[in-house]
Subunit: 306 residues, 2 copies
């Protein structure tokens, strides 16, 4: 089989790691949100691509949900003393990835090629594809105005109310040409934030169309369990957007695109409501605490996607 | 008094530290070579400015002769694993200085203002002036062609034969406008490499002229002792250029500009030959192993410059 797994940051990367353990590199390709990307300290930062790279390389921080586990902060401490901008934390080792990406981009590589070079150097065998090599920049519309995503997410800690989202540049972005639409047998929407991790991918022209033309199962795994998001501001955003912060709310958001929906065990009672949206459903343990949880959910998803 | 001290890297910074201990910030200003500057990993690197900054801040590495003493190398180790360019070593803390300088320059500051902001943040109270805010780039002419200075000095470890030097951009560079020519009482040429540390400063239009118009003693401290350079490739360069690698050879190089010359004790016999060049001379211990050596030489130089 060939699975295209759409993913954002930490939540998605958990299932992605499971998929990478269950499926060999030829059988699963990761398509990653780049709407979070921005430039910081003159360096190109791709948070979701990096989270997945570090996760698949076995280097991700188990605690922080971003960055590397084996990290030191001497650069950041010194930058702070020097009066530099330090709200976005870059560890000493993480910084090397950003400097290297800057070098590769400056030498003419696209983000896809730069990502492949870095992932390969870190021993990642699966393919990580940024959704596009063109810049797409998620903007969060708030009562105080439009915020670049990382300002909203990291600097302002998701405190401002989200009124909506815009994906600047998406309409003109070219989808990653290496997406293997021709041989796909399924797509998986990982349990990432639907609004700021998955929607930017779907906003790149030609991705939704090609998936629908491929006529393969499109399986989404709920990022909302028991009315709460496992990680991040998904539930808060849903409330602010006037959407019920439930697994049914997520399913409704994906209706018309996703064809199969994985509900958590605690929300099993929601199956009829999701089926009423025209989706097939299955129930699984979607909360992934351990590596075994990730692998088990990946197996269930792959089975459900066949 | 007001002393303008011309300096390059490590050798010069030793005397500069002594001068900073002997003279308060109002009484000595450091004018620093920027011919070594270059861009590495997308960052603006100013090796001589940084060596002096770290030295005056008490942060310089005692062993390496460059960089900080309290340094770690996690960035560089990771960059190497990622296939990045690592011949020019930037420590984790040193990197913060370079990122901060890039930020400051990108926000419109000149090198002088960026240097002042960084030095101030590190607690340096004396004034460090780059010779110019305009780019001057020392080139080493070798049998294999023209080499940018850091490629010659660091990457190729001074192995290529030096046939001559060019200071690209010097002719159009504007001298640092903050040099206090109007109130100078002396200039000191620190024991830096005459060819690649001091000559680039002298190549910036208006510096030599203004010093001569100021009609103040111009005191040079020999960087060559007993036919050897204390540090770096000075003696090797002199041999390759067909100049005797002696303190007299250095004095002859400075003849017509320098008016007073400090000879090391081991070369006391050279005094008549240096005087024959029209310079006043004094003999001192110029080899600076300890802080006390630096202070003692600085005192002797200041006394000699009155």
């Amino acid at each position: 089989m060939t699975v295209l797994a759409l993913t954002g940051g930490v939540g998605g990367a958990k299932l992605a790691l499971g998929l990478a353990r269950v499926l060999p590199p030829d059988d699963v390709v990761f398509l990653v949100n780049t709407g979070d990307d921005f430039e910081q300290l003159g360096l190109p930062v791709s948070p979701d691509v990096d989270t997945l790279t570090y996760t698949l390389a076995g280097l991700a921080s188990a605690d922080a949900g971003w960055g590397r586990g084996d990290e030191t902060w001497h650069f950041m401490e010194t930058l702070e003393r020097l009066g530099g901008e330090t709200w976005f934390r870059l560890g000493d080792r993480d910084l090397a990835l950003h400097i290297r990406r800057r070098e590769l981009l400056a030498s003419g590589a696209g983000l896809t090629a730069a990502t492949a070079a870095i992932a390969s150097a870190l021993g990642v065998r699966h393919t990580i594809l940024p959704m596009s090599d063109d810049a797409v920049r998620t903007q969060v519309l708030t009562p105080g105005g439009r915020l670049p995503f990382q300002h909203y997410f990291v600097r302002d800690r998701c405190v401002p109310k989200a009124l909506g989202f815009e994906f600047a540049g998406a309409a003109k972005a070219r989808r990653n040409p290496l997406i293997p639409f021709g041989r796909l047998t399924a797509a998986v929407v990982c349990p990432s934030n639907p609004f700021v991790s998955v929607d930017p991918i779907l906003a790149v022209p030609g991705i939704v169309d090609a998936l629908q033309e491929a006529d393969v199962p499109i399986v989404a795994v709920t990022p909302v369990v028991g009315g709460k998001a496992i990680k991040g501001p998904t539930a808060k955003m849903m409330r602010e957007l006037g959407i019920p912060a439930t697994t049914v709310g997520v399913a409704r958001h994906y209706a018309g695109f996703v064809t199969r929906f994985v509900i958590d065990e605690v929300d099993a009672a929601a199956e009829p409501a999701v089926r009423a949206l025209g989706m097939r459903t299955t129930v699984a343990q979607t909360v992934m605490r351990t590596l075994e949880d990730r692998v088990a959910l990946a197996r269930a998803v792959v089975e459900f996607a066949r």
